[in-house]
Symmetry: D2
Subunit: 389 residues, 4 copies
């Protein structure tokens, strides 16, 4: 696990590499955090939940950081408000790099001592959560970097080449796969790591359905746009239509029309829209409206997971897929006591579940039982559409 | 059915009776409509969906009313924005009474002609929807009147005596009833009237659970308050806690503490809180927090309906009961084409289901499959809590 | 003075006469108060400042009214927030009529007793303020009624005939009159009634200027519109231009273009724009932009008053005239102690002075030294433009 | 003048020196611009108004910068919205330093060519405006840097030693100086540089008054606080009192009370409040309330300038001084055509004039006729109080 820890810590560093210092400080909208905040917060997590409680006489890198880099743990105390993260210039990115190194080294240095601690089972559980937590933030780092750069007037790029959200060439006709009526066991089983919200595997009865064998593509969504769907209330949920009108929407996030040609912002800058590329950066309202327009619908999260059980190959995709399921507790869901109990449970209202994973999901972080969740109006994730009928 | 129609129309009139003209015009918050708007809107509904399309040469009472009294039907055309209903003084209440009478008489007068119309099946279906629609607004009328009067500084009353939300005396100890694991058929069956969102009866597999045999009472909720629960984040969903802080909440809507004694506003004015009265006017955040504090939880809407199937007596209650289910389509849910297809389906996001009915629900409007739904922050309905464990 | 008091009270009643009860309750925007609030507030003023302190054993009509009908006097205590006036249905209009009568009769009844009171000089001063205060509200009543009716979708009218804001026929070419450089005595002199903000007559040195002999007309302003001035930033103050863009303005309040013809809402309903009618319902931004476009400017309040001293005939006009002067204290301005000291002084920031009077100003309320004041974005007064160069 | 230009350019560089890159990007509130924006905007000004129009074949450093670094000149075209300046990470600070150098060198390089240009009078006038413009932004740089650092939770400092807003030791009793009634010539005369809003020297008649011979000190303002003035409506303008309540104010910006001792944030960090230091960072509401509480008042801008004419020594002070004058045009004020005409005139509404200069005013930028202006609620300038009576 120490290896896995070190590899995870190193990957964060690599993700930050192409950025300029100025990019690391910005918070253009509330849901996007400054990269340097992610760098510090993922380090604070190990300090707060492992080093401080379990390493004897551990001295924190700075007394100020619990206030600055706690995200939402009320149990841990007062904190800088979420929408104020973009008003903090100090500590500088350089100091935060030192902080990261300090924490990484401390975990390595005390590894032996931790392993011999009487609470090692709890410690190792927390280390595992910490690693998975950092992986989640690696994904957020990419989406937030894309937003920070991609909403600037002149579209600066993250990397010249090899951006993870580019290069879509293979054409693949869509096929429908049938899943039979029956009882399916939903949720995580076994002793591998998973978050608390996946636990409590339970039977769910499903009627039969057909599911597309890949996510919706740009060219398919373009038809929706060109059919005037953003100007026609009948396809939209009432709140979705309000969102369209209030924001004068006419396409997904990062799509730009110039002289009758469509472009999209990618991590390698503004590029012509690739017809066969996977649709990305739609919100739930758009996903739901598109499905309705197509005469289809979105899968529930149970259907999604059942389909995966039938044939995993159908379900891999470069985008998180909006499901028709609201984010709610599984039967018997329990939060653990203390701060880590705030990890997932307290967000179970007004959000929709996304399943799968995306091109931004770090290696080893993908699970078929994984329940991602966002508010229905948010587009900045690598989020797309899977159809069922 | 004509009788039922006339009875329904008469009941609306009776509900309005105790009001003063000034009460009929106000819209203190967006979700509360002026009583005179309800009076007109329920009449416009019959005019728009029955009289205009099916009565030959029918002349509408006023060409302006489609604009003024359409609620949310995009298919019908432009309309007065919802939050502008409280800025409309004309037509006066008197003219709206004439409008009501005009519509009631037109339906009666043309009843025979409609019955002999080749589309009578569709017409009668629409009349039935219109009657049920008016019943829904009768319930809203009471909740809106309560809000209009109950949020004024000096608490004017609706009726001196016989208010439907008063007189709770019987004490009943709470008992837990067991519902066994199994497959339950959920949704409406048969040919009786129901809304489209209840249709598509389908099997749902449930694990066993225990359900309280009555709704939570004021004295039980008072313990929650006195335990400091409104000051302790640990019981609340994150959005619920934000709501508590932003609105400085410390008790349900209409509860008032004066010199260490609790009162509540009822339709008969401010009265001392009755310990054995049913808790009313909590929102989903409060219901969820209370259940967590009690070491219990809210039922899903499927559990609620299953319990009713076991024993209806357990489930009658003077309040709508928040469930742990988000408002989503049943499998195979279809909206009909045209304006009436906008009735329910387009609201299926970001709302929670309530089950049962309340003291404000008109006679004949109660159904075990009925799916009421509101946003989680709203308290102004007669909404309470049922516990399961 | 008793006569004058009774006449004033009667005139308020007459202004209310044409309204329906529903019209009396509405507050469509913060600056517009419900007519029934004006009716009550002007009565409370006499009760609070004359009857309560000076009539022995006087019993107020209702203990609740100080809370409900105090406008902004912090010295008097807590009050209903200004933007909540439109959420109060009780007391009803009928009860408020009784309240008005009660107060009118009490003042009459105790007149003798008050006259013999040792503080009669102070009492009579307050009665005079109360009468002038009610006259101010008579003007506001008309502007507020116009807003309440004129912003409804179907333009209900106040009176069929004889509306004070109609019937403009006389054409009069504009002439410029010269006022010579010199020292002018500005402010109110003598013992007649005036408000505290007019006191402290003082010398002001003015350079010579020319002033138009009448207010700007509709046809003149129409040229400004048709020249595209609402689409051209160069004529506008920065805040004015922000206001144009944010509200998508293209004409004064109440102007409506239908099939290429201009109409305006008047108290007798929607009527074709009269070219020779006086321009009404522009705000300071519009007045300032129009003057700039004309190659002229607005007068300072000192220039306005000086012009009146030269020749009063030039300066009468059916509209309040925006001046280029901010509302600030005259040299030596003092507020009196207590609540009545809050009457004018505390508003002396961020407002502009208007001079003259309007068609809505009650008889006897006009004074050349009168300083009216509003925020620069407000259009709902009978406010127009006088040019100087 | 080339020398003066180079010195001015160098001074901006020196002001930026102590900052970290992260500090240069932030815009915590709308009125505070990122330091790197100031660096670029002041360079763009020379490029736009001198190099582009007058240097043959001049190639701009980047075509994007007119959009990014235009502040408010509508004549120049579309621009990045003011409140979006803090969402721009690119060009980086490093590139902007190169931009600054490029512009500085271009002006130097083409100096001779410009001098021999037939439009040299216009060019030199623009260079002078550009230098004064940059000096204004040098002052804003300091106030913005102070805000960016001083509102962070742990008060990072700008410089360890020699901060311009520190070290106040000399105690000086306040004396009142009399200015006699009479006519005073107000505004700028002569051929020295001044802004357009100072031009049009004109006679103003003033009554006699007494003016304090120094600005208000911290200890004097502390008495106001300790007398409960922030809790007592009677001292405040109505909008000021609203501001106090809405923001729960109890002291000037940057004042912090810890365990019964007062501190203030300075550019050298949080330091104990110096009793004899000049009061800084109050807004107009606070200045006006303090003067009222003291039984005094603020000077008009005319009184301020007249006092300076009597004895300049009275009027030097380390803070801008709020006057009782609204920012309005002088008689005969004219804006020049084109973009530079937008410099001052379009802001002449809803702002108050401040006179003098502050510790942040660059050498050579101080003038007795200088008219600074801000909205009455803003505190972030080095703004204080001068009393008259």
């Amino acid at each position: 696990m120490l290896d896995y820890f070190l590899k995870t810590r190193a990957w964060t560093k690599q993700l930050i590499e192409p950025l300029q210092t100025e990019d690391c400080v910005l918070q253009p909208v509330q849901e996007v955090s400054p990269p340097k905040w992610h760098m510090a917060h993922t380090s604070w997590f190990f300090e707060e939940f492992v080093l401080k409680p379990f390493v004897k006489d551990y001295k924190v890198f700075s007394e100020d950081y619990a206030y600055l880099f706690n995200s939402y743990y009320n149990h841990v105390g007062q904190r800088n408000p979420r929408d104020n993260r973009g008003s903090i210039s100090r500590p500088s990115t350089k100091v935060i790099r030192q902080y990261r190194q300090h924490v990484t080294e401390a975990v390595s240095l005390f590894w032996k001592q931790l392993q011999e601690h009487k609470d090692w089972p709890e410690i190792s559980r927390r280390l595992e959560i910490g690693i998975n937590h950092e992986q989640q933030h690696q994904e957020l780092l990419l989406t937030d970097i894309k937003y920070i750069l991609g909403t600037q007037p002149f579209y600066p790029l993250y990397v010249e080449e090899g951006a993870p959200d580019c290069d879509w060439s293979a054409e693949k006709a869509l096929e429908w796969n049938r899943v039979e009526e029956g009882m399916y066991l939903i949720g995580h089983e076994g002793n591998d790591f998973c978050f608390d919200n996946e636990k409590g595997a339970h039977d769910v009865f499903l009627e039969s359905f057909e599911i597309a064998d890949r996510a919706v593509r740009n060219d398919e969504y373009l038809e929706f746009i060109e059919a005037g769907a953003y100007q026609d209330f009948q396809w939209w949920l009432a709140e979705g239509w309000d969102w369209v009108l209030a924001n004068q929407m006419d396409s997904p996030l990062y799509w730009v029309k110039k002289e009758d040609q469509w472009f999209r912002y990618s991590l390698s800058g503004l590029i012509p829209l690739e017809p066969f590329g996977p649709l990305m950066h739609v919100n739930y309202y758009e996903a739901d409206a598109f499905a309705r327009w197509k005469g289809a619908r979105l899968p529930t999260e149970f259907e999604w997971e059942a389909a995966f059980q039938i044939n995993p190959d159908w379900m891999y995709s470069p985008v998180w897929e909006w499901t028709a399921s609201a984010y709610l507790p599984y039967p018997g869901f329990k939060t653990e006591p203390g701060a880590l109990g705030e990890y997932n449970g307290k967000f179970m209202v007004n959000q929709m579940v996304l399943r799968g994973g995306s091109l931004a999901t770090p290696e080893g972080h993908w699970r078929p039982s994984y329940r991602n969740f966002f508010h229905p109006h948010l587009q900045w994730q690598f989020s797309g559409i899977r159809l069922v009928r």
